[in-house]
Amino acid sequence: MNVAAEILISLLLVAGALFALVGSFGLVKLPDLMARLHAPTKATTLGVGGCLLGSMGYFLLTDGRASIHELGITLFLFLTAPITANMIAKAWLHQQVNPDLPPTGTAAGWATFGPTGRPAGEEPRTPPSPGL
């Protein structure tokens, strides 16, 4: 196998693995959920992207065929990572933030909250305790 290509693939794999490790370390280390959300959704996506690129290069070199599966997985992960991050942030907002918001002035309410600024049929909640 071509030595330069082998070095390139090894670099991609090692860089991807380090990115994923940093992302997961951030998940453990950072103080609250909104900070924690930042680390894995970016770093881990980059990490998996590096691994998939390395895998694509490996199968291109050994079998001589360009495999499209990796591109599919990469595309799917890159499309879904922001959606999952948004859903988790919304769930956190819904549970933790005191929804005492001013009226929006339009027919549409605040995102995730009802038009009155709080979940339908619920009393306003107390602000989150600092320990969380």
Binding site: S10, P40, V48, C51, F76, A81, K90
Partner: protein
């Protein structure tokens, strides 16, 4: 050299999975646990892809793709359950 790189990457992803597991067990809020599960799914996809390189088989990519889809759907379902109290209204 490639073998060493793959071994290093496997070790890194295994360590990342353990860190995620710690957050899953500890995480003070339910949203933290959902985030940890989502990250575990992504790391597991990378592990499956690396196993495919190590054992030189293209069969693993279908498994990784299935894992990605099931992980995404489960994360969205858990978040919706937290948000609305129901998955399908």
């Amino acid at each position: 050299m490639m073998d060493h790189a793959i071994t290093f990457a496997l070790a890194c992803f295994a360590l990342a999975l353990l860190l995620n597991l710690w957050r899953l067990a500890r995480g003070p809020l339910v949203a933290d646990r959902i985030l940890a599960l989502d990250t575990m799914t992504i790391n597991a996809i990378a592990l499956i892809v690396l196993a495919g390189i190590r054992w030189d088989s293209a069969l693993y990519f279908e498994a990784a793709l299935m894992f990605a889809m099931v992980g995404f759907v489960s994360t969205v379902a858990l978040c919706r359950f937290l948000l609305r109290g129901d998955v399908i209204e």
